[in-house]
């Protein structure tokens, strides 16, 4: 509708758009989510600040899941280097590095491209796909990668108030892992305060306390992964039914 502003000769109008700014990413992510569901693979997106221990947790998780006969793979994001991918490849699982070359987060387009051209890896033959995001507690919260579960990590060396400082990311997570519990005591880590702060920002979230080094807390974490995959499979894929027709 055109309207003339009083005393002005120009004619202006308002055009309603109501359009998501990250719509393109959201659409790509929706497509990924559908393909993960069709393939019956549980996809997790690991987010934290740099140095929290995403790679260490993942290294141990991949090894443990492989030992249990499960089919796992990982995509790992960093600005530069393939150090993390090489480190994770020692688990024997297929691992692919995504270098963002300066971009502070992974997006759905990067995931799609790296899944498409991944030799020897097909979603339908996986039980779990882990995506290790770029170490950053801000930007990854805006970019849906189609994951079923977003896991935020917090290490005992970082300060118990991290959830309060970075509420946008903590609030968007489905599960939280407190890492490096083996050094909690020398760091003076206030466990109760950390748990309280996480719950203040994301009430009721599942919280795991782990040490990738000693293996503490890993059983509970792996139990959660198994339970979540079971839910996914029951709902979505014939390959998971006990007695396929």
């Amino acid at each position: 509708m055109w309207k003339k502003k009083q005393g002005e000769t120009m004619t202006t109008r308002i055009v309603e758009l109501r359009r998501g700014i990250l719509k393109k990413n959201d659409e790509l992510a929706a497509g990924l989510r559908a393909s993960y569901a069709a393939a019956g693979v549980l996809v997790l997106n690991l987010v934290s600040s740099p140095g929290t221990g995403k790679t260490a947790l993942l290294e141990r998780t991949l090894k443990e899941l492989k030992t249990r006969g499960l089919r796992v793979a990982a995509l790992v994001g960093d600005l530069e280097t393939d150090n993390d991918a090489r480190r994770l490849a020692s688990s024997g699982a297929p691992v692919r590095q995504i270098n963002t070359h300066g971009i502070c987060h992974l997006d759905a387009e990067m995931i799609g491209k790296h899944l498409d051209g991944w030799k020897g890896v097909s979603l339908g033959e996986l039980d779990y796909l882990f995506i290790e995001n770029v170490g950053n507690l801000v930007c990854p919260s805006s970019y849906d990668l189609g994951e079923k579960i977003r896991v935020v990590l917090l290490s005992v060396t970082e300060g118990e108030d991290k959830p309060l400082k970075y509420p946008t990311l903590f609030n968007s997570a489905d599960a939280a892992v407190i890492t490096k519990m083996d050094i909690a005591e020398p760091c003076g880590f206030d466990r109760e305060l950390a748990l309280k702060n996480i719950n203040e920002i994301r009430p009721g979230i599942r919280i795991f306390e782990t040490s990738a080094k000693t293996g503490a807390g890993m059983e509970e974490w792996l139990g959660y992964l198994a339970a979540e995959r079971l839910i996914l499979c029951d709902l979505n894929h014939p390959k998971c039914t006990p007695n396929p027709a």
Binding site: W2, M10, T11, T12, R13, I14, V15, E16, L17, R18, R19, G20, I21, L22, K24, I103, C104, H105, N136, V138, C139, S141, S142, L164, P167, T168, L169, N171, S172, N199, E200, I201, R202, P203, G204, I205
Partner: protein, 120 residues
């Protein structure tokens, strides 16, 4: 940190929209940004000046309408607005609330355009 890619996306979307309105000039682009959208309005405005250069949006204003977080409180049976993002508890009854109804928006609400040829 990703504000530049966000404003680039805004400029692209608005430029596409303008194709349906030839001969017009953009005066204002209005956004709806939730308190949990992970973007800083000042950074958006700063980046907008750069990203709109050399496009039909050059010289236009970016207006950011910030939306508070709204959660649904089950015990109170209604949607309530949070004062900040430091505590997800109902400000009335103090119960933790995780059922979010508003706060993650990141969208272009509308644009104000000026008709260059005086069309009606």
């Amino acid at each position: 940190m990703h504000e530049l890619s966000i404003v680039t996306s805004i400029v692209e979307t608005v430029t596409e929209t303008l194709a349906a309105y030839p001969g017009t000039r953009v005066l204002e682009v209005r956004l709806r940004v939730g308190a949990l959208a992970s973007v800083i309005p000042e950074s958006l405005e700063f980046c907008y000046g750069i990203a709109s250069e050399g496009t039909p949006l050059v010289g236009s204003r970016l207006v950011v309408n910030l939306l508070p977080v709204v959660v649904h409180c089950a015990p109170c049976g209604q949607d309530v607005e949070l004062e900040g993002v430091q505590s997800f508890r109902c400000p009335r009854c103090g119960e933790p609330c995780s059922d979010m109804r508003q706060g993650r928006e990141l969208e272009i609400d509308s644009i104000e355009i000026e008709d260059g040829e005086g069309k009606q």
